[in-house]
């Protein structure tokens, strides 16, 4: 675990309300794995507004460059302040936190399912797998409300990963819900494993689809956090073994072990 003041290397607006932030954090980059996240203090030092750090997933881990990237959406006070960061500023962060993804060695094909800003950790995973397990077939099912909610498609293309784009309004890719497209695809093609990250209704639907077909997989959950390190028991989800902390026991859980209500 690293806790540091990290230098903002770059801050980029990807689309209205969506940002990419690159931080110089060599220790963190060396330790981090896909699916992990960091706690980010959005206010300047000494500011109590916001009081708590915000959890943001790692979108890219550049071990050689000693940096990590995040992609986030400005939804409230904390992310609005993050959006005001600029190159050269310092930010207090700690991490890597959480367990990260674990793709079974036996898997030959993997379906990633992303909704909105659930995409970044999946890209991190895809990049790592392309390096570590070139034989694995990886495809992304990516849903958003409209075209501008689908981010960095060119990066997925550069990573040579097939993307099934889906928008609710049909402004890009297929029209509808990403899970409907996933289901349709599953009628033709099979996947050994599935990993999903996105809003809860989407996660539920993905699990439903996976369970019906007997495909194992993992879900990455979100939750309000206070400490982010497992001490406060604030972030728990319902798990078949009782309450489990999203910040250290997760955020990645096996599909069939968590209860998404």
């Amino acid at each position: 675990m690293i806790q540091q003041e990290a230098l903002v290397q770059e801050m980029k607006i990807l689309a209205p309300g969506y940002y990419r932030l690159d931080l110089l954090a060599p220790g963190l980059a060396a330790e981090a794995r896909p699916g992990q996240f960091i706690q980010v203090r959005a206010g300047d030092d000494g500011s109590l507004d916001p009081l708590l750090a915000r959890p943001i997933s790692l979108y890219r881990i550049d071990r050689n460059g000693g940096s990590v990237s995040m992609i986030f959406k400005a939804v409230g006070r904390g992310t609005a302040q993050l959006a005001a960061k600029q190159r050269g500023m310092l930010m207090k962060i700690w991490g890597p936190l959480g367990n990260g993804f674990a793709i079974p060695d036996a898997a030959q094909s993997l379906a990633l399912v992303a909704g909105g800003v659930g995409m970044p950790p999946l890209f991190c995973l895809a990049e790592e797998l392309r390096r570590a397990r070139p034989g694995l077939r990886v495809e992304l099912f990516y849903g958003g409300r409209t075209q501008r909610d689908l981010l960095v498609l060119e990066q997925w293309e550069a990573a040579d990963i097939r993307v099934h784009s889906v928008t609710e309004d049909g402004s890009y890719g297929r029209k509808g819900l990403v899970t409907a497209v996933l289901e349709a695809q599953l009628r033709q093609k099979d996947y050994d494993f599935m990993v999903a990250c996105g809003p809860t209704p989407m996660l539920k639907a993905v699990r439903q689809v996976a369970l019906e077909r007997g495909i194992a997989g993992q879900l990455s959950l979100e939750s309000y956090m206070a400490c982010g390190v497992g001490a406060c028991l604030g972030c728990v989800c319902k798990h078949k073994a009782g309450y489990r902390r999203v910040c250290v026991d997760g955020p990645v859980f096996a599909m069939d072990e968590v209860d998404l209500e």
Partner: protein
């Protein structure tokens, strides 16, 4: 000038410094190991321990509010037997007193936990949590009535000779009445305050944010209330006090000491920044050096200034 000493005696214990973790914000110490060792603190105060395992409340359990946060953890804990199995061996190697925060639904519950733990040499003392607002039975109910507070303290007092700290609720009309009765019942020290009862509503969903509806408010927002209660109690009881509520800086901790606290505990401040406890310890030391004074002189200083 020599480096100022932060050592302090509290309820019969000698603490390396007057900074403790607030119960429930530091687990049993393991989770913050990557940031600092338990002996950064003058003593470790554990998450509440009950006789049987408690599942806690359904999520959402926490929510940020202006300069504060709400929590309704519901005292999730694995019970005293698991505590003995897991937490005690973990804490043993650190040269720091361990104070066990004790919770219960009935007086025999509290007594049961203390009886079970009192003979462990690894345990230095107990903090009775009679002030948790997030459980249906027991908890805060014990801390809002002077007579009930007296009874639970007296019964537990009989069960242990180790230092007995009682943690008071701020959700009362007159905290000094409770403090006085708890003193009469034989407590060695008082912690104040636990969280203020609060809530938040999600206006998009039209419903309370927390599954438990209400929760405990902590963090800098409540510091003025906590400080006032320490101030009031200091004038009415002669027990040493542990000041808790919204401490995020050394200046905050010093305010509590000047109001009458012999030690302080930090909770939400550690969530804000995991290095807060270490910064507070260092900052107190700096202040003492700069002001050429010692720790003891700070305690209750502001009372002497207005006499």
């Amino acid at each position: 000038m020599n480096e100022p000493s932060l050592e302090i005696r509290l309820a019969g214990l000698t603490l390396r410094n007057p900074v403790l973790p607030a119960s429930g914000t530091y687990g049993y110490g393991r989770e913050y190991l990557p940031f600092f060792a338990p002996d950064t603190f003058g003593a470790v105060v554990t998450k509440g321990v009950s006789l049987e395992p408690w599942p806690g409340n359904p999520p959402p359990r926490v929510y940020e509010t202006p300069a504060g946060m709400l929590n309704a953890i519901g005292l999730q804990n694995p019970g005293v037997e698991a505590f003995i199995r897991e937490a005690i061996p973990f804490l043993r190697p650190f040269q720091t007193p361990v104070i066990v925060n004790v919770v219960g639904k009935t007086i025999p519950d509290y007594v049961g936990v203390v009886e079970r733990l009192t003979d462990y040499s690894e345990i230095s003392g107990f903090e009775l949590n009679i002030s948790c607002p997030n459980v249906k039975e027991g908890g805060m109910a014990f801390g809002t009535d002077p007579e009930t507070a007296y009874r639970v303290t007296r019964e537990v007092r009989r069960a242990t000779r180790k230092p007995l700290i009682v943690k008071l609720s701020p959700n009362v009309t007159d905290v000094t009445l409770i403090a006085q009765r708890v003193e009469e019942a034989g407590a060695d020290c008082l912690s104040l305050i636990n969280t203020l009862l609060g809530m938040a509503i999600d206006i998009r969903k039209g419903r309370p944010v927390l599954a438990n509806v209400v929760g405990g408010l902590s963090g800098p927002a409540i510091k003025p209330v906590a400080l006032r209660m320490v101030w009031q109690v200091y004038r009415k009881v002669s027990l040493p006090l542990i000041g808790i509520g919204g401490i995020a800086t050394a200046a905050d901790a010093i305010e509590f000491m000047m109001a009458g606290a012999s030690a302080v505990a930090i909770g939400t401040g550690t969530f804000h920044d995991p290095m807060t406890p270490a910064r507070v310890v260092a900052g107190i030391k700096e202040f003492l050096a700069e002001q050429r004074t010692d720790l003891k002189s700070l305690i209750g200083l502001a009372h002497r200034a207005i006499r």
